[in-house]
C-alpha cells in the first residue's frame, strides 16, 4: 500500500464524507477495484491542500496536517455488488459523474443519485454485462420495468 486509506462502511460513509466537506476538502475522484466475485472496493479521494499557500516555498504557511505527502485523504469501502451504495452526491454534487461511471463499468447501483443514467452514461443499450466486472449484469431499472410491462401486455 503506497497510500493510507481510512476504512468506512456504507453506514458510516456519509458521515465521514460530511466531516471532510466541513473541513473544506475538495473531492477529487473515486477509484474502484474488484476484490472477489461479489465484492467491489471503492476508494474516495479528497484533496485537503486548499488552504496552503505554497507547499514548497512556505511550508510553515500550511495550516493542515496532510495524511500523506501529497495532501490527500483517502477512504476505502468494500461493498456487496448486489446492495445499493449510498451516493455522496448530496454532499459533493461533483461525485455524480464518477458514481454513474461506476454504475456503467461495474454494474452496481448508487442510491439517491440526482442525475442517474441507469448504467447508460457510456454504454449503449445492447451492452448487458459490466465491462470491468464481467460476471455482473448492467442494471437498468427503467429498461427492466419497460420489459416487465411489455411482458404483461403480451400476457
Amino acid at each position: 500500500m503506497f497510500f493510507e486509506a481510512k476504512d468506512v462502511t456504507p453506514e458510516t460513509l456519509l458521515a465521514e464524507v460530511q466531516r471532510l466537506a466541513n473541513a473544506r476538502c475538495r473531492f477529487v475522484t473515486m477509484s474502484q477495484t474488484v476484490v472477489d466475485e461479489n465484492t467491489l472496493r471503492l476508494f474516495y479521494h479528497f484533496d485537503e491542500n486548499l488552504t496552503m499557500s505554497d507547499l514548497r516555498h512556505n511550508p510553515e504557511m500550511c495550516v493542515w496536517s496532510p495524511t500523506d505527502a501529497k495532501g490527500m485523504v483517502h477512504l476505502r469501502m468494500d461493498v456487496d455488488k448486489n446492495m445499493p451504495i449510498p451516493s455522496i452526491s448530496s454532499i459533493y454534487f461533483c461525485a455524480v459523474l464518477i458514481e454513474n461511471e461506476t454504475q456503467d463499468q461495474f454494474g452496481v447501483r448508487f442510491a439517491g443519485l440526482p442525475l442517474d443514467y441507469q448504467g447508460g452514461m457510456y454504454l449503449e443499450g445492447e451492452v448487458t454485462h459490466a465491462p470491468y466486472f464481467t460476471m455482473t449484469t448492467v442494471r437498468r431499472p427503467a429498461a427492466a420495468a419497460k420489459a416487465e410491462s411489455a411482458k404483461g401486455d403480451q400476457a
Binding site: T29, D54, L55, R56, C94, I98, G120, M121, L123, P131
Partner: protein, 360 residues
C-alpha cells in the same frame, strides 16, 4: 415546464467543439435554465487494456488517452509505478520530463486560446495563436521525433536526450515564441470586444469551485492557488515555479490564467534547459510492480489523477484515470444556468473540454 421553455440540443457536432459532447439545454426565451450532459461518443475503455498489455506497453496506451497532453499522461503513469517500485528517475530524466511536459502545456494552451478566440468570432487572433503554436510543434518534432505523441517516457526515466546544439536551437525558438506571445498580449487581454464577450460570463465563485471539484485553470481562475506542480514532482521542486491565479471566476479570468501560464511555461523550460544536470537517462527497474499507488500531476487542463493496483505480475490489476475535464464538467453545469444562449459556446469552451480524455 412552462410554455416558454424549449429544449435545445448542443453537440455532439458543433463548430466550437473539437470533440463530441452533447448537452441538452433547457431555455426560456434566450436564457438557459438547465443543462444535462450526455457522454459516451468516444468511450474506448482504454483502462481495461491493462489486462492485455504489460505495464511497459501501457506507457504507450496511456499516451493515447489524450493527444494534446500525451507526455503528461505518461509522466503521471510512470511516476506512479516508480513510486510503487521504490525507484526514482535520474535527475536529467526528471528535467527532461518537465521540458516536454511544459512544451505540451504551451501547445495545448495556444490551441485553446485560438479556439476560444474563434468561439467569440475573433478569427484573426485564432490564426495568430495557431501560427505561433507551430514553433512548439517544431520543437517537439525535432527533439522527440513526433509532433503530438512524443513517447519519451518509460518506467524509470526517459528514452531521449537533448544535445547541446538542440538546446541552443530550442532557446532561439522559444525567444521567437515569446515575441509572438508578447505581440498578442494587448489584442487578447485588453481588446474591448474580447472583454465584452468574456468578462462576467460563466461566473464560478471561489466556494463553488471547491465544492464542485474544479481543477486547473478553472479552479485557479476562481482564486485558488492550487497547482499540482507545487508538490514538486519531476524537477518542479528545483525550478522556480509559481502558480498563475486570477480572482474574477469568469471566462476572461480563465483565459488570462492560460495566457500567463504559456509565458511561465517558457520561463520554466528555459530554466530547465540552462540547468539540465548530467546523469543517466534511466534507472534499472526491479522486477514487476506490486501494491497500490496514486499519483497526481498537472495537465494543461488541470489535475490528472492515476490509481494503479498491481499484483507482482507484468500485467496491472487495475488502472483508473481521472482527467481534469471529468472534474470540470460539474462546474460547467453550474455555470450555464442563467446565461444567454449566445454565450453558451464561450462558456463551454472556457473549461477547455477534452472529451477523449474524459471518456478514455
Amino acid at each position: 415546464m412552462s410554455n416558454r421553455t424549449t429544449v435545445i440540443p448542443f453537440g455532439p457536432q458543433h463548430p466550437v467543439l473539437p470533440e463530441p459532447l452533447h448537452i441538452k439545454f433547457v431555455v426560456e426565451d434566450e436564457t438557459v435554465v438547465g443543462a444535462i450532459p450526455q457522454l459516451g461518443f468516444v468511450h474506448r475503455g482504454l483502462e481495461s487494456l491493462v489486462r492485455t498489455k504489460d505495464y511497459n506497453q501501457m506507457v504507450f496506451v496511456v499516451e493515447r488517452i489524450c493527444g494534446i497532453c500525451s507526455c503528461i499522461h505518461a509522466n503521471c503513469y510512470c511516476n506512479a509505478l516508480e513510486n510503487m517500485m521504490g525507484i526514482t528517475a535520474p535527475p536529467r530524466a526528471q528535467f527532461l520530463r518537465v521540458i516536454w511536459s511544459e512544451l505540451h502545456r504551451i501547445h495545448s494552451h495556444l490551441l485553446w486560446l485560438g479556439l476560444f478566440a474563434d468561439a467569440f468570432g475573433f478569427e484573426s487572433v485564432f490564426q495568430q495563436f495557431w501560427r505561433i503554436r507551430e514553433h512548439v510543434m517544431d520543437i517537439c518534432e525535432a527533439t522527440a521525433g513526433n509532433r503530438v505523441i512524443l513517447s519519451v517516457n518509460v518506467v524509470g526515466g526517459v528514452r531521449r536526450d537533448l544535445a547541446p546544439d538542440q538546446i541552443r536551437w530550442m532557446l532561439g525558438r522559444l525567444d521567437e515564441l515569446q515575441k509572438g506571445m508578447r505581440e498578442l498580449t494587448n489584442t487578447m487581454l485588453d481588446d474591448y470586444t474580447v472583454q465584452e464577450r468574456t468578462r462576467g460570463i460563466g461566473y464560478l465563485s471561489k466556494d463553488d469551485a471547491r465544492l464542485l471539484g474544479a481543477a486547473g485553470p478553472t479552479l485557479r481562475g476562481s482564486g485558488w492557488e492550487i497547482d499540482e506542480r507545487m508538490h514538486g514532482y519531476a524537477a518542479y521542486n528545483d525550478l522556480n515555479f509559481i502558480p498563475v491565479v486570477e480572482n474574477d471566476g469568469d471566462c476572461y479570468a480563465r483565459a488570462k490564467v492560460r495566457f500567463y501560464e504559456v509565458l511561465h511555461a517558457m520561463d520554466l523550460i528555459r530554466e530547465a534547459l540552462n540547468r539540465l544536470p548530467e546523469s543517466e537517462l534511466t534507472v534499472k527497474v526491479p522486477g514487476n510492480p506490486d501494491g497500490e499507488a496514486v499519483f497526481r500531476v498537472e495537465q494543461p487542463r488541470g489535475e490528472l489523477f492515476y490509481y494503479i493496483r498491481a499484483n507482482g505480475t507484468k500485467y496491472l490489476e487495475r488502472m483508473r484515470v481521472r482527467t481534469p475535464t471529468f472534474a470540470n464538467v460539474p462546474p460547467l453545469l453550474h455555470m450555464l444556468p442563467g446565461c444567454k444562449l449566445p454565450d453558451v459556446p464561450v462558456i463551454v469552451l472556457s473549461i477547455d473540454p477534452c472529451i477523449s480524455c474524459t471518456e478514455r
